[in-house]
């Protein structure tokens, strides 16, 4: 079985073969993998190097916690991987990215307006929650197409706040 695992834009090809063992990017590895019967911990020995981790499944990826660092891993088999490459990721079907509220809170400010050109990482909403002002940022370059809230509004978790179209450079 051949998988493609993606971590932070880095892809690894991992083959699990009953006969040939485990190959990572084509190179064989000595691997001993254990999952403890309780507590959620796994132990990996790879060529005698020891790595302990917590591995949990999320809706569309795996989360792996190693020495304080949380890795988000996409695991796809070859077929899913090829299909996936044909689609744009993270967008709704009409090419609009939605900035949704990650938690309940109150909108402090929306420092963009419809029609603004924004860059990935640019502040688009300031949300007050958990006693802090939190900055929500654009997930991609694009043009602000919708603003669904204004300062002072109470919002729920997952409520859409701002829409950003990716297609400004084609217009």
């Amino acid at each position: 079985m051949k998988y493609i695992a993606t971590v932070k834009d880095q892809e690894y090809t991992i083959e699990i073969d009953a006969d040939r063992g485990i190959l990572i990017d084509g190179r064989p590895q000595e691997v001993d993998f254990r999952r403890l019967p309780a507590g959620g911990v796994t132990s990996l020995l790879m060529n005698h190097r020891s790595v302990a981790a917590v591995v949990e499944e999320r809706s569309d990826h795996w989360e792996v916690l190693i020495e304080g660092e949380l890795y988000s891993v996409q695991v796809q088999d070859e077929r899913a991987y090829r299909l996936g490459r044909m689609r744009t990721t993270g967008m709704s079907v009409d090419g609009e990215a939605i900035v949704a509220s990650p938690m309940p809170g109150i909108i402090v400010a929306v420092p963009v307006a419809v029609g603004d050109v924004v860059q990935r990482g640019q502040k688009v909403v300031i949300l007050e929650s958990m006693k802090m002002e939190n900055e929500l940022r654009a997930p991609c370059d694009g043009v602000v197409t919708h603003i669904h809230v204004s300062a002072g509004a109470s919002v729920e978790k997952d409520q859409p706040l701002v829409g950003i179209s990716q297609e400004h450079d084609e217009a």
């Binding site: 064989p28 790595v51 990650p102």
Partner: protein
């Protein structure tokens, strides 16, 4: 005994803790160790929180929002009376610095574990606090009194030299505060600070203060009993902040020597005496690069970062709070307080350091606490607890002790690696990155360091390959199981081992 200043001091055998999270746990433990029975209060969001389980009794006080539960004074005093609690410890935040609440406790015949209401009132008003401590000879940051005209403030600013800060008299948490680098910016700053202060506090009084460059935030921990004895327990270095929220604290401070410690300590004692302070309190100072120090404010309560002082002095500050509230004399004199070794505290928050420190909510699916020599965890979160959006995002505090600062840092690195929290994102990588930073290691930082000169972008993470492999093995295992219809019960004992053909041949 009800003192002249309205403070009720007497023995009690049952304590209500009017708080939640790690500080509620901290106080519960101190009370248990002193043989005092405990009463917890909880909102709808906290029925499953650990402070409910650890207390001897627990009472529901309302819906999740703090204003409907933890901030409702009458309801908390009512629980104290129904449960027979003779005292209330407010922790920090919530009702801890409400003059009215301290007074209401005394009026109801309940010991408030804290200072007299009047001391809270004075120290809670920035301008009154400033005037009071100045009269006691405490140095303050040069600045104006409130209620001056724009013209008067502009003249004062020119005299003390730019940059200056325009601040709201009723302010806090950075709200209504504006840095101004030249006379040209003053008018705008007055207007916008007033607007923000009016909106946030209903009071648009502003004043100006000289802005201290390369300032460090260093504070002195005090203990004062009800018999007139006040001592200082050395300093804490709290310069590592982000948006006025402290992130890492240590004791002692890299820049404080014995002489400066004694001078700051004596000034802090004088400031406390100026308001007839009783119980634990902290004087916050700004220290400039020439080691001049200026009174910033007094926190009239136990602080988040009190454990670093406990580790280097061996004194249990929360137990001392309870002893003082019961009317006992301090067991220690100033000369008994000795600083040994070094302690560092990292605040572990549910937030994503790689994404603007955005808070992270959810259910904690797995926790493994670091332990072993020199490691202390003050936590209010265990497996199965939910991090809800209703309260602040601090999950726990990780505190490490070492014989030297270097050893404390190395131990903190080790403890951060061991600490596993799954279910929400945490700022553990932020702390790891800080512990690796040369600026931190060499003690060269000020209150602007985190915001202005620290970035997670240059962090190298070493285990991407292993993470990829582990996730793939877990996914493969799941696929195999789905295909073969293995009974779910068999799931938990999977142990796989692969040797490559190459490896087998070599043997």
């Amino acid at each position: 005994m009800l003192r002249d200043d309205g403070l009720l001091v007497q023995k009690f055998d049952k304590l209500l803790i009017a708080n939640r999270g790690e500080i509620a746990m901290r106080i519960l433990r101190a009370a248990r160790e002193l043989g005092i029975a405990t009463v917890a209060v909880y909102s709808d969001a906290d029925r499953n929180a650990p402070h409910v389980r650890f207390a001897d009794e627990a009472y529901h006080i309302g819906p999740p929002a703090a204003r409907d539960s933890y901030l409702v004074m009458d309801r908390i005093i009512d629980v104290a009376q129904r449960s027979g609690a003779g005292a209330i410890h407010p922790g920090y935040g919530f009702l801890a610095e409400r003059e009215k609440f301290a007074q209401a406790c005394a009026d109801a015949g309940i010991v408030f574990v804290g200072p007299p209401a009047r001391a809270i009132g004075i120290m809670g008003d920035k301008l009154m606090a400033r005037a009071t401590v100045m009269a006691a000879g405490v140095p303050v940051v040069p600045g104006t009194t409130p209620g001056q005209t724009d013209a008067e403030m502009s003249a004062a600013a020119r005299e003390m030299g730019f940059p200056v800060l325009v601040k709201a008299a009723a302010g806090g948490g950075g709200k209504g505060m504006r840095p101004v680098s030249s006379a040209a910016g003053l008018a705008d700053a007055f207007a916008s600070a007033r607007r923000e202060a009016k909106a946030a506090f209903g009071d648009d009084t502003v004043y100006i203060e000289k802005m201290i460059i390369e300032a460090r935030h260093i504070e002195i921990q005090l203990l004062a009993d009800s018999h007139g004895n006040t001592i200082y327990l050395g300093e804490r270095e709290c310069s590592l902040q982000r948006r006025h929220q402290k992130l890492i604290e240590e004791a002692p401070s890299f820049v404080v020597d014995d002489d400066l410690r004694r001078r700051m300590g004596e000034v802090a004692v004088a400031a406390a005496r100026a308001v007839n302070y009783v119980n634990a309190g902290t004087i916050e100072f700004l220290v400039d690069r020439d080691k001049n120090f200026y009174f910033l404010e007094m926190n009239t309560r136990v602080q988040v970062e009190h454990p670093v002082t406990e580790l280097v002095t061996g004194i249990d500050i929360v137990q001392e709070q309870l002893r003082i509230a019961r009317g006992r004399r301090l067991r220690l004199r100033q000369e008994d307080v000795v600083i040994n070794g070094w302690a560092i505290e990292c605040r572990i928050n549910a937030e994503d350091p790689y994404n603007s420190y955005l808070p992270s909510t959810g259910v904690i699916t797995s926790v493994q606490l670091p332990t072993g020599p020199g490691v202390r965890v003050d936590t209010g979160v265990f497996e199965g607890n939910e991090i809800s959006p209703y309260y602040d995002s601090m999950i726990s505090k990780l505190i490490c002790y070492g014989e030297t600062r270097g050893e404390a840092v190395l131990r903190m690195r080790r403890a951060l690696e061991e600490y596993r929290i799954m279910g929400v994102k945490t700022n553990i990588p932020f702390h790891q990155h800080m512990m690796d930073s040369h600026r931190f290691l060499s003690g060269q930082f000020d209150t602007k360091f985190v915001e202005d000169r620290f970035s997670m972008d240059d962090r190298d993470t070493a285990h991407a390959l292993e993470a990829a492999l582990l996730a793939t093995l877990a996914a493969h295992e799941q696929n195999q199981r789905a295909a073969q219809l293995v009974a779910p019960g068999a799931r938990d004992t999977s142990n796989w081992k692969w040797y490559s053909r190459w490896e087998r041949l070599r043997r």
